[in-house]
Symmetry: C2
Subunit: 254 residues, 2 copies
């Protein structure tokens, strides 16, 4: 449902991969020492892990050289990071746990959580964000939402509910009062609900693959200087879209 990559990595190797991923994000090159410091293991342990990861073709590794991720490795690392973020989001946004504690807990649990449960966490956060005034239907509505809407993927009732929610809200519109737009017109930090996906190409496919059908919450995470490309968060995935792709996606702003 939510995972596209499974490498059957041990928890330990996943940790190494995630650490490399984050270090590369920060400094563009990973050194054994940094990895060791981050994971609190000795340098010799790092070398061992690097061999294991290289053998699985997840990293580009040559002795004494800098370490980078292969495409495959980046995909796996992103999946691990996604699990981490979904968990952390849930802890922070739903359980009202402090950011640091949430991160620490997510670290420990990200290897043990089954995909099905992870999806539920994700859905729950989305539900809370969409539906902060659900009244007594709150929890029952969530059950319905999980059992019916998500599975069909069509989510017709869901869209209705969500749009009703949106309409009934007095606050929460975009700053300038717009209520509908294409994804390409959205600004940094704005949230919306997908209404229609007009494109026919790869983007439509990619969105559908990750379960982002009509009714799905989308959030703008980063916008390049001229609005191209635009980075959005959908269902816990981070996705970069070209402007012309984004404009084919109609949304209702929340």
């Amino acid at each position: 449902m939510s995972d596209s990559v499974q490498m059957d990595l041990s928890a330990s190797l996943e940790d190494y991969l995630e650490a490399i991923f984050r270090i590369v994000q920060e400094k563009s090159a990973a050194r054994a020492k940094d990895i060791g410091k981050r994971l609190k293991v000795s340098r010799s342990s790092v070398t061992g892990a690097l061999h294991a990861l290289a053998q699985r073709e997840l990293i580009n590794y040559a002795p004494y050289d800098l370490i980078t991720l292969t495409d495959k490795g980046r995909a796996v690392a992103e999946d691990v990071a996604r699990r981490h973020e979904v968990l952390r989001d849930f802890f922070v946004k739903v359980l009202a746990v402090g950011r640091e504690d949430a991160d620490e807990a997510a670290c420990k649990m990200e290897h043990a959580i089954p995909d099905a449960i992870l999806d539920r966490f994700l859905d729950f956060v989305e539900f809370v964000e969409r539906c902060p005034r659900g009244g007594s239907k709150w929890i029952k509505g969530f059950g319905y939402y999980c059992d019916n809407d998500n599975k069909t993927g069509n989510c017709e009732k869901c869209v209705e509910l969500v749009l009703d929610e949106v309409r009934s809200r007095t606050t929460g519109k975009a700053a300038d009062g717009r209520t509908s737009a294409s994804l390409g017109e959205m600004k940094l930090g704005e949230k919306g609900v997908i209404v229609r996906i007009s494109g026919t190409g790869g983007i439509r496919r990619r969105l559908l693959d990750m379960g982002a059908t009509a009714g799905t919450l989308v959030e703008v995470e980063r916008v390049a200087p001229f609005g191209d490309p635009i980075e959005v968060k959908i269902k816990g995935y981070h996705l970069t879209l070209r402007k012309d792709e984004a404009e084919r996606i109609a949304v209702k702003l929340i």
Copy 2:
């Protein structure tokens, strides 16, 4: 906050201990074969684990003899089982996951979850059960509840909120219309909220130790023939009370 026992057991040994605990519950005597079947490991692996547990004085073990838990072992096992149940309850009652999937997930995660997060799960379930019609205050109320009420332990505001909830409900009273009682008068399956703990002895202490102050949800799980003893579930713990102890605890029925 919520744990009283920490043995620093490996996840594996915790699994063995929990398995023994459950088997003893069912059949009053654990055999290596059953443990192995339950955990899907070979008999020889079981023997090894038993040695480790015996060395830590968690089980009574003699070669070729039946296996029972020591008091210490039972305490640890109950704590593990509690973690399992809190997780499962959360998955079932909040995330609307099926019982079996919830159990499986709880099995995997019960070793990785920090106590602080576990407490939040527990509180969340209680909150949902107490407050099913919270309106838009729902999620904010939970944050408040976690941050203020629980920490003080006094929970005055919480009691007010809860009692208001109870009063405003049209359904949910006990079958015979009672709305308040002592714990000793409650029947199987009834739920209530603690209003006052009059006793001074060990029970009061035990309840306070486990965080069960006024405002805490309590549920009757089992009642012996003449109402003595009575087994209740409080904050994820299972507690057996004598009738005279239970009568000192005033509750509002939900």
